[in-house]
C-alpha cells in the first residue's frame, strides 16, 4: 500500500468515526426530545391550566399554581434584573469601555455565567430565608435575578459596542448631552441586540431549578403572595417526577413540556431578532 493510499484510508476511517459519533450524540438528544414531546403532549389537557395541585390519585390535579408561580418568580426577577443589567452593561460600554474596572467586571460576569446556580441558592438562603424565617417567592426571585444579571450585563455591553461610534459622534455634534446620546441613539441602535440578551437571560433563569429548591421552595396550591413559599414549574417537576404516583409523574412531564416550549420559543425569538439585525 502506498503512503497516499494509507493516508486516504486513515482519513476515511476518521471521518466515518466522526460521523458515527455525531449520529450517536444527535441520536441521544433526539431521543430525549422525542420522549419529552410524546410524554408532554400526552399529558396535556385543559385541566392542567385550570386546576391547582391535587393529592395523588385525584384526576383533577393541574399545574395552574406552578404556572402562575413560575411567571411571578421569573417576572419579578426580570423586572429588577433586566434594567439593572442593562444599566451596568451601559457603564461598561459607554463610560468605562477600556478601563481596568470594566475589564474586571467583564471577567467576573463571564465566570458568574457558568458558576453553579445551587450556590446562589445557598447564598440567598443565608441572606433572605434564614433572617426572615421562611421560604418565600421573593427569595426565589432574588436568586434568579442574581443569575440573570451577568447575562444581561454582558450581552448589553457587547451589543452597545456594535453601535458605530460615528452615530454617537453625530449626536454629540448636534449638542446632545451624553445621557441623551445613550438613550436616544445608542439604545435605539442596539435595540434588537439588547432584546435578544433579555430573551436569552429570561430563558436561562426560567429553567433554573437548583436555586429555587431552598429559596421559593414549593407549594402544591395557588399562592400569589411573594412573601410565602411559592410553586414553580421546575421544582414542581422535580417533586412530581420523584414521587411514586403515576398521575403526578404525568403532570411532571406536562410541566417539562410547557417549560421547554417556553424556553425554546424565547431562544428562537432571540435568534430571529439577532438575524434581523445582521440582515440590515
Amino acid at each position: 500500500m502506498t503512503h497516499t493510499q494509507k493516508r486516504v484510508i486513515t482519513s476515511s476511517i476518521v471521518m466515518a468515526l466522526s460521523t458515527l459519533s455525531a449520529v450517536i450524540g444527535i441520536g441521544f438528544l433526539l431521543w430525549i426530545l422525542s420522549i419529552l414531546i410524546i410524554n408532554g403532549v400526552d399529558a396535556l389537557s385543559t385541566t392542567i391550566f385550570l386546576e391547582e395541585g391535587a393529592p395523588p390519585g385525584n384526576e383533577n390535579g393541574g399545574l395552574k399554581h406552578a404556572l402562575i408561580g413560575q411567571l411571578m418568580l421569573v417576572g419579578y426577577a426580570s423586572v429588577f434584573g433586566v434594567p439593572l443589567g442593562i444599566l451596568a452593561g451601559t457603564y461598561l460600554s459607554e463610560y468605562g469601555l477600556k478601563s481596568k474596572l470594566s475589564e474586571i467586571i467583564r471577567d467576573i460576569s463571564d465566570i458568574m455565567m457558568s458558576a453553579p446556580s445551587i450556590v446562589i441558592g445557598a447564598f440567598v438562603y443565608a441572606i433572605v430565608v434564614a433572617p426572615s424565617g421562611q421560604f418565600s417567592g421573593w427569595a426565589g426571585s432574588i436568586a434568579l435575578m442574581i443569575i440573570m444579571l451577568p447575562i444581561i450585563l454582558r450581552t448589553t455591553d457587547d451589543m452597545l459596542q456594535l453601535v458605530p461610534s460615528t452615530l454617537r459622534e453625530a449626536a454629540f455634534a448636534l449638542g446632545a448631552p451624553k445621557y441623551k446620546v445613550i438613550i436616544q441613539v445608542v439604545y435605539r441602535g442596539a435595540k434588537a441586540g439588547i432584546l435578544t440578551g433579555v430573551l436569552l437571560g429570561v430563558a436561562r433563569v426560567a429553567g433554573e431549578t437548583a436555586p429555587l429548591l431552598f429559596t421559593s421552595f414549593n407549594d402544591n396550591f395557588l399562592n400569589t403572595d411573594m412573601s410565602q413559599p411559592m410553586a414553580s414549574l421546575t421544582v414542581t417537576m422535580y417533586n412530581y417526577a420523584t414521587s411514586p404516583y403515576e398521575d403526578w409523574q404525568k403532570l411532571g412531564w406536562a410541566a417539562a413540556f410547557i417549560l421547554s416550549m417556553f424556553i425554546l420559543t424565547l431562544n428562537v425569538l432571540g435568534r430571529l431578532f439577532l438575524l434581523k439585525r445582521k440582515g440590515k
Binding site: 466522526s18 455525531a22 420522549i35 469601555l97 445557598a122
Partner: protein
C-alpha cells in the same frame, strides 16, 4: 440641568456595575461566614473525613467530593470524544444544507433546562442501567452518563466554534498540497484551534461539576465511597439539593454552607482557567 442628569446617569450606571463586583464578593463572604462553625469544628478533616452522619453531628465531605470528581470525570470521558466527533462533523463533513439546521438544533438543545435531562435519566436511563448491571439503577455510572449527555450540546457547540476560527486560507493551502481531511484536521485545525478546544472542554468541565439537577434524580445521595460505579453515590451539588431544606442543626447548616463554598471555589477556579488561560477574550481594538 443636562449636565446634572448626565452626572446622575453616569454615576448610577457606574454604581450598578460596581455592585455586580460587590455582589460576588458578598456571596463569597456570606458563604464563608456561614461555614465558620463547620470550619472550627472539623478544620481540614472536613475534606478528608468519609463519615457524613447528621444524626451524630459528624460531617465529612470526602464522599461528596469523590462523587463530584468521579461523576464529572466519567461525563468528560464519554462526552469529549463524541463532542469532537460532532464538531468535526459540523465543521468539516456535513453538507452546508444540513450544517446550519443541525448546528442550530444543538445550540437549542443546550438551552433545554438540565432538570429535563435528569427526568429523562430517571425514567428512561435508570431502568437500562438496572437491566444491564442489576441493583437499583441509581448510581454513579448513571449520573456520569446523564451528565455527559447534558453537557454534550454545549461542548459540541463551543468546540465547533473553536474549530471554525481556523482561517479558510490555511485549510485551502493544505488541501492544495494534497492533504486529506484528516491531515487538515490533525495538522491544521487542531494545532490552530488547540487553545480554544481545550478551553471549551475545561469550561464544560466547570459547568458539569456544578450541575445539580441532571444528577440529583439519578445519583441517590448516599454518602459512601465505593469503587463500584453501579452503586448509589453523592456529589456536592446533590448533597446540597437533597439536604439543604431539611437541615435542622446549626452545624449541619454550616457544613452545607462549607460544601457550597467549596463548590463555588472549585468552579470559579476551573472556569477562570478556561476563560483566562485558554479562551482569553479578544480585547477591544484587537
Amino acid at each position: 440641568m443636562n449636565s446634572l442628569i448626565d452626572k446622575v446617569f453616569a454615576n448610577t450606571t457606574k454604581l450598578i456595575a460596581i455592585s455586580v463586583l460587590l455582589l460576588v464578593a458578598w456571596i463569597f463572604g456570606v458563604l464563608f461566614e456561614h461555614s465558620l462553625k463547620s470550619i472550627e469544628a472539623f478544620g481540614f478533616s472536613f475534606l478528608t473525613e468519609t463519615k457524613w452522619a447528621p444524626n451524630l453531628e459528624k460531617f465529612g465531605a470526602l464522599p461528596a467530593i469523590y462523587g463530584s470528581v468521579v461523576s464529572t470525570f466519567l461525563a468528560m470521558i464519554l462526552a469529549v470524544p463524541i463532542a469532537i466527533g460532532v464538531a468535526i462533523f459540523l465543521s468539516e463533513i456535513a453538507h452546508a444544507k444540513i450544517k446550519t439546521p443541525i448546528g442550530v438544533s444543538i445550540e437549542l438543545l443546550a438551552a433545554i433546562p438540565s432538570v429535563i435531562y435528569g427526568m429523562w435519566g430517571l425514567f428512561y436511563f435508570v431502568p437500562i442501567i438496572r437491566d444491564i448491571f442489576g441493583g437499583v439503577g441509581i448510581s454513579m455510572l448513571t449520573a456520569g452518563v446523564v451528565l455527559s449527555i447534558m453537557i454534550l450540546p454545549f461542548m459540541a457547540a463551543v468546540t465547533r466554534d473553536a474549530m471554525n476560527t481556523t482561517p479558510d486560507i490555511l485549510k485551502e493551502s493544505a488541501y492544495a498540497l494534497g492533504g486529506t481531511k484528516w491531515d487538515i484536521i490533525k495538522d491544521i485545525i487542531i494545532p490552530y484551534a488547540k487553545a480554544g478546544i481545550i478551553g471549551s472542554f475545561i469550561l464544560a468541565l466547570g459547568r458539569a461539576i456544578g450541575e445539580t439537577m441532571a444528577v440529583t434524580f439519578v445519583m441517590g445521595n448516599v454518602h459512601k465511597i465505593s469503587t463500584d460505579l453501579t452503586q448509589p453515590a453523592t456529589s456536592i451539588p446533590v448533597t446540597l439539593a437533597n439536604e439543604f431544606a431539611e437541615a435542622d442543626t446549626e452545624l449541619y447548616f454550616s457544613s452545607l454552607f462549607e460544601l457550597s463554598l467549596l463548590l463555588l471555589i472549585i468552579s470559579f477556579t476551573i472556569i477562570s482557567i478556561a476563560k483566562f488561560y485558554f479562551l482569553r477574550r479578544k480585547r477591544i481594538g484587537q
